[in-house]
């Protein structure tokens, strides 16, 4: 299976993401620059965290007009797994691939620490290796992770089981309904503020994020590899 890590000017979690796939997951992975036109050779697309275009105007607002976004939309339409973490999530929101928007954290501070998450939906291509309702520990690192959407959108998210992760216990940023991660209606585009790529080995303080990437591989193998 071949992963793409999309690199925007200002991405800074791209190397962590690459390391998680290449060294911990053990799958093929390549960096793709933001002006790439084609992602056809990749089976899954990862949008890493960081501060694309310096977060000018709004987080993710400028990155969404990059050339590569057209290819990402195409891959999303084709049903390929697309994961946006932190700034990657913000870009997916600005691009309209996921509903809602990010506000500044209600504390007005940048928060960087491990948090507890509850896996609300383990029937997605990103979470199948988790138990239903499993509580996991994944680090967050953001100043704008305060998820917001209007009431109608929220009801749709709930009805379609699109809320994949919620903050468990304390909500660090004030997000609506403790939302930490959501998928699109089709279920192949996941955006989340916590960084699973920073939790793929005990030496990093925990490996709870690894199952997310393993879920993607499991999904892909089930769909593409014929076993005899």
């Amino acid at each position: 299976m071949k992963f793409a890590v999309v690199v925007f000017p200002g991405s800074n979690c791209d190397v962590d993401m690459y390391h998680a796939i290449a060294d911990e997951l053990g799958e093929d992975v390549e960096y793709v620059w933001h002006d790439a036109h084609c992602l056809d050779e990749f089976d899954a697309i990862l949008l890493p965290g960081g501060f694309s275009y310096g977060d000018y105007l709004r987080s993710g607002a400028i990155a969404r007009f990059s050339n590569v976004m057209k290819a990402i939309k195409k891959a999303a339409d084709e049903g390929k797994p697309i994961l946006g973490v932190c700034n990657g999530f913000q870009i997916l929101l600005e691009a309209g691939l996921l509903p809602g928007a990010m506000r500044r954290n209600d504390t007005l501070t940048f928060i960087c620490r491990p948090v507890k998450l509850r896996v609300e939906n383990n029937e997605t291509m990103f979470t199948s290796q988790y138990e239903p309702g499993e509580v996991i520990t994944i680090p967050i690192a953001h100043g704008e992770g305060n998820y917001y959407c209007d009431e109608q959108t929220l009801q749709q998210l709930i009805a379609n089981n699109q809320i994949v992760f919620r903050y468990e216990g304390e909500n660090p940023n004030g997000s609506l309904q403790n939302i930490a991660g959501i998928v699109n209606e089709k279920g192949n585009v996941l955006g989340m503020m916590p960084h699973p790529e920073r939790a793929v080995h005990e030496l990093l303080g925990g490996a709870d994020g690894l199952k997310l990437f393993q879920s993607i591989v499991t999904y892909w193998r089930d769909a593409h590899v014929v076993t005899t």
Binding site: A61, A101, R103, N105, D106, T107, L108, Y148, C149, D150
Partner: protein, 84 residues
């Protein structure tokens, strides 16, 4: 040539944490008459005349990029200026 001033603020029904913090600071300075503070962005654009209607162009730019209409409202003033 046009000078366009664009104002972007969080929507009325969206909590503005920065505005609230500034309101609290104003209250500590004894400006208790301050009821509400909304913090936003102010942008100045210089736009050349074209065959497209300036109001339509500015509105389009606001909708597409300058504001995120999920959480933000925008308004703008357009002033025609004569180039010296």
């Amino acid at each position: 040539m046009y000078k366009v001033k664009v104002y972007v603020t969080l929507r009325e029904n969206v909590l503005d944490p920065q505005g609230n913090a500034v309101k609290g600071a104003l209250h500590t300075l004894n400006y208790y008459e301050v009821q509400d503070v909304r913090i936003g962005k102010f942008m100045e654009l210089v736009v050349e005349k074209s065959d497209r209607d300036i109001d339509t162009v500015v509105k389009e730019m606001c909708e597409k990029l300058l504001a995120n209409t999920v959480i933000e409202d925008y308004r703008y003033d357009i002033e025609e200026v004569v180039v010296q």
